[in-house]
Amino acid sequence: MSCVQEQIRVVMKEFAKLSGIADGIAEGADLWEAGMDSLTSVQLLLRLEDYFGVELPDEALTRETFRSIRAMTEVLRTQLDREGSHAS
């Protein structure tokens, strides 16, 4: 399991609708079917950006980005590489 992915799971635990599944859900499982909603996705976006010290580009602000832990991991990794950030 990647470091970024583990950190996403830690952040997910802060949200009521995701805390129960954060540890156990498969990385490719559909989060929208498991409790994610639009408001939570916005809150998670802001928290992840704060946590990783990045700002996701406009094209990443979609439902697909928050579909799974794997999708979030890919988007965040791409942005971390792009911004040259070393947030661990």
Binding site: W32, D37, S38, L39, S41, V42, L45, L46, D58, L61, T62, R63
Partner: protein, 273 residues
């Protein structure tokens, strides 16, 4: 934005854009629309209300409107005790249904509930093309209940509304839509809403080359059920949906399509329903 006010006084115009006076001939059309909507979509309703042009700020905040659409919300300033004018506990309703949720807040519903109302709404729009009023009337039918019931109701209402507006001679195209959420996070909210097909609009031409939504059917999921603590017997937040008609836009679209024959067209359609 009425293009053909049959009783217009020569040179009459609103003193500020996006606010319109309604001449009596148009009010007659609106009355026909009201009865058409009530007959078709409000039959199962427990009650129909007419709302005042103001609403408690706390209600709109509880509905989450102020955080998602701060750019559109208008506030009432006053100085009831004298001195400097300041924000009051009232705002201008941005949507009709906000008036209804406090009526059922904190309650348990064992059966689906349908209520309807007409409200004078305000949105601080930034553009004033035909049909984009800042002060407008919205006729809304709201359903609260378990998810499958509410979703099926929304779909049925959407289909019925599109069929009715088609019968009235409008192009009545049904399109997936999103609310105008504010800012960067709003773009995510809007895209999620659109991809989940939570909001559908029925559009019609309101002026040459100008198409606007004249009705919408929205599935709110448990958003308002959670915010206003409306629950089922097991304590789970209920889902809600609404069917909303923009009465002023509908009038504009009908005038654009039928000119002075609107009353005859409406009367004929209602007689055959």
């Amino acid at each position: 934005m009425n293009q053909q006010p049959s009783t217009a006084v020569a040179g009459a115009a609103p003193t500020v854009w996006g606010t319109e006076l309604t001449p009596s001939a148009d009010e007659q059309v609106l009355d026909l629309l009201r009865s058409g909507i009530a007959h078709r979509f409000g039959r199962s309703g427990e009650e129909h209300y007419v709302a005042p042009p103001v609403i408690a700020r706390a209600t709109v905040e509880r509905a989450g409107y102020q955080s998602s659409f701060p750019q559109l919300l208008g506030s009432v300033y006053a100085a009831p005790d004298g001195g400097e004018q300041a924000l009051t506990d009232l705002v201008l309703p941005p949507a009709a249904c906000h008036h209804l949720y406090p009526l059922v807040a904190g309650s348990t519903l064992t059966e689906p509930l349908t209520l309807s109302l007409e409200a004078r709404c305000f949105r601080a729009e930034s553009t004033g093309e035909p049909g984009r009023l800042r002060s407008f009337r919205m006729y809304e039918v709201v359903r609260l209940g378990p998810e499958p019931d509410v979703q099926a109701w929304r779909d049925e209402m959407l289909e019925g509304a599109a069929a009715w507006l088609t019968d009235l001679g409008l192009s009545a195209e049904t399109v997936a839509a999103n609310d105008p959420f504010f800012g960067r996070t709003g773009r995510l909210m809007a895209r999620v809403q659109r991809s989940q097909q939570l909001k559908w609009e029925i559009t019609a031409e309101v002026a040459d080359d100008t198409v606007q939504a004249v009705a919408s059917a929205n599935f709110h999921k448990e958003h308002f059920g959670e915010a206003f603590e409306v629950a089922d017997a097991q304590g789970a937040p209920l889902h809600s949906a609404c069917l909303a008609f923009g009465l002023d836009r509908l009038l504009l679209a009908l005038r654009h399509r039928h000119g002075s024959d609107v009353v005859e067209r409406l009367t004929r359609t209602e007689a055959h329903s």
